[in-house]
Subunit: 245 residues, 2 copies
Amino acid sequence: MNPTIELLKSHRSVRKFLDQKIPRETLLELIRAGQSAATSSHVQAYSVIHVTNPANREQIAELAGGQPYIASCSDFLVFCADMKRPTEASARTGAEVTRGMTEQFLVASVDTALMAQNVVVAAESEGLGICYIGGIRNNPQPISEMLQLPDHVFPVFGLCLGYPDPDKLPEVKPRLPVEAVLKEDTYTEDAQHVATFDSNMKLYYRGRSSTNKDTDWSHNLTPLFSTKVRPHMRDFLLKRGFDMK
Amino acid sequence: MNPTIELLKSHRSVRKFLDQKIPRETLLELIRAGQSAATSSHVQAYSVIHVTNPANREQIAELAGGQPYIASCSDFLVFCADMKRPTEASARTGAEVTRGMTEQFLVASVDTALMAQNVVVAAESEGLGICYIGGIRNNPQPISEMLQLPDHVFPVFGLCLGYPDPDKLPEVKPRLPVEAVLKEDTYTEDAQHVATFDSNMKLYYRGRSSTNKDTDWSHNLTPLFSTKVRPHMRDFLLKRGFDMK
């Protein structure tokens, strides 16, 4: 296992940070590393909003469902899928552009995620800790207004960055057996692997250093699917110009 | 710049490979590194199909718009967003599950992309070359049938992996100025940065070692937006159970 793979496999979400700022030049380097990720047809369909205003960070921490590390980490970024820049660039050449296709929504979301994951790997290689914040999709409309996001741009997730508190580093969380995820030639059922994983997760949840609980993976997923999760997302995206045609 | 960031910044898409196989244990290690990526609420909403059947790889190469390296690279993977596994795991605990939400489509697509990007970084750290294949979305239905993908699973993109031919390594392709992508506190217009980038890209396209052309970024985007790109995607996803509710 080479050091990069070792780094990838040591990932955990960090929510307790030291009171230490990331140098501006380091932040720029992380974003440049992000931009080096593959991008569909070179479209680079993303923008990153660096939220520095403390009042805005406090407000996002609330809007994301009460996640105080959004305000307290060194730097907080909002990764946006951005179809405005490329479609306007194309329009300026005189082309008539089509927008609102489902495919474009998917391309922009995937482009944004590939880019963000490179930022994350770069950050962790610099000894930083990170936490993705999907919770910004709890209230995407007020957050989009605060960040003055125009049409054809939407916030996909946030990212907390900072120097991790070494005394409060969480354990690395187990993952599904590789045999469940990697399938040969055709899709095969994996309930057996899930059962094995449930046993592992039960031990993990019982034994971990903070917020122990008596559950397993399958039971823990229930709140995700038992209600309509973020039912506002469809209309929010339509209003932004992501028409899902 | 540390060696990991240097690695990230040296990424290019590789389409010419040596005739040399990736050891099985290395492939498994890449997938495990992929699984270590962050995942929304631990849902791990992805499966990877390792396509080994040569006839199937030839056929996918055609269906993806004529990309022969899909057949000739060492290993070809199809990364699928998978909401079947987690919703069925939850249902087995007795929960009533909701499916087909737009939010779930987004979560599964992003989870898949974060995971894939970690696989890519791990692969490149092992000296391998990669090329993402969005072209599988040209014909997602026959490819899904070939791979026997069930409902609530769809192919997001493919990935070619192999040892790059060192004599045919493409240049690293430039990216937008970091000032265009990283914005402070609010979204700001970036047409000026795009103009600078267009000049850079014009020089790049003229000077690169293969398939020189006289264009720039903005003009090169036109085919992407001048027609309805992959207009079948919406109905394809609906049929798969991704209802975009």
